[in-house]
């Protein structure tokens, strides 16, 4: 069996690693202006919310691009959010969210 795609994996790793490493390895990042440090502190909530919202609401439609989809997935994510905000427990939130979506789909609602 061929293993030539191992080289492709190495090349994919090689183009991914710089984006993961460069800012972390750059010298003098602690000497950034205060506003830049504040900006970087806010990247976390912004990018995580961006991922969550895009992954939940946006779906590819093949040739026509992307569209907003309102489905049971939103209920699952919102249920998880509420549980996490209430109990500060992500695992419990995920159990509730996944359970809700699985139950709704089983019932033919999703």
């Amino acid at each position: 069996m061929s293993n030539e795609l191992v080289l492709l994996a190495v090349l994919m790793g090689a183009v991914t690693y710089p984006s993961r490493a460069l800012p972390m390895l750059a010298p003098g990042i602690e000497r950034l202006p205060a506003r830049a440090l504040l900006y970087l502190r806010l990247v976390g909530p912004a990018v995580l919310a961006s991922i969550a919202a895009s992954q939940t609401l946006v779906q590819g439609t093949g040739e026509t691009g992307y569209r907003i989809v309102i489905g049971v997935e939103i209920l699952g994510v919102v249920a998880c959010l509420l549980v996490v905000a209430w109990r500060r427990n992500l695992f419990l939130g995920l159990l509730v969210g996944v359970g809700l979506v699985a139950a709704l789909r089983y019932a033919g609602l999703g």
Partner: protein, 273 residues
């Protein structure tokens, strides 16, 4: 180790467990997809070990199956994973006391999930906790992803569709849940709300891989436009080890930034685009 740190690490392990479930679900499918596309087990495993980038791995499987040349796959991988620049830049000021070689190693394991777990954990303990980073990145993501890749390859079509079990929502739900842990003030809430709105809007136009990055880039600017909190920096920064941030530096920096924001004349263009 303090009781607070022990409690925070227990919470991190629980959080990582949820993330691991998501990683296992999708890596099983990746293993199956790679096998269907004609990958060998070694090639499949190499993708998860060396490439270690979920969306790009799935895209590569599709392109290889279609017989596309490697160059577009590599270019696509670069763009799909460019968002890691944001994660790395966001963690970098906190990691500046970590030895260079260790930072270089940590970088390979920096994924969406690893960033989310690390950022939330560091925020929770108020300082950098390197073992905590490894727990989230390796125990919570890397090991489950790689083991499940192999299992998925070997089990083949016996694997149930994660969507049937509702596991497809674990990833976005986990990202949303971990974002909640970072929201300690108005600025964080506005940054998250703006990031979500811009992310969705931009994803509709240019696709999620670019939309997510735009949300992450522009959202913080809107958060910074909010007035500074009255009680000083929202995030406590405690220096308990050489790896911790120097409290005076960070607190001064944040306070200075807050003061800057308040001193800006109202008619002066702010950081908003």
């Amino acid at each position: 180790m303090t009781a607070d740190l022990r409690a925070a690490r227990r919470q991190l392990v629980l959080d990582s467990l949820g993330i691991a479930v998501s990683a296992v679900g999708f890596a099983l499918v990746f293993g199956l997809s790679a096998r269907s596309a004609g990958y060998s087990l070694v090639e499949t495993s190499a993708m998860s070990l060396i490439g270690f980038a979920g969306a790009a791995q799935f895209a590569a499987v599709g392109y290889v199956a279609q017989g596309l040349p490697w160059l577009p796959i590599i270019v696509l991988t670069f763009f799909l994973n460019a968002r890691h620049l944001l994660y790395s830049a966001s963690l970098a000021p906190r990691l500046r006391h970590v030895p260079l070689v260790q930072r270089a190693a940590m970088a390979h394991f920096l994924t969406d999930e690893a960033f989310a777990l690390a950022a939330t954990h560091f925020h929770r303990v108020g300082r950098v906790d390197i073992p905590g980073y490894w727990i989230g990145a390796v125990v919570g993501v890397f090991i489950p992803w790689n083991v499940a890749t192999i299992v998925g390859y070997l089990l083949g079509s016996a694997i149930p569709d994660p969507a049937v079990l509702g596991l497809d929502i674990v990833f976005p739900a986990a990202m949303a849940g971990l974002a909640v842990g970072l929201m300690t003030g108005r600025r964080e809430v506005v940054a998250a709300g703006a990031g979500a709105s811009i992310g969705v809007g931009a994803s509709l136009i240019v696709g999620p891989s670019v939309g997510i990055v735009l949300g992450g880039l522009i959202g913080p600017l809107l958060g910074m436009a909010m007035p500074a909190p009255a009680g000083g920096p929202a995030e406590p920064v405690v220096a308990e080890s050489p790896l911790a941030l120097q409290p005076s530096h960070m607190a001064d920096a944040v306070a200075e930034a807050d003061a800057d924001a308040e001193l800006e004349p109202p008619d002066e263009p702010g950081p908003m685009p």
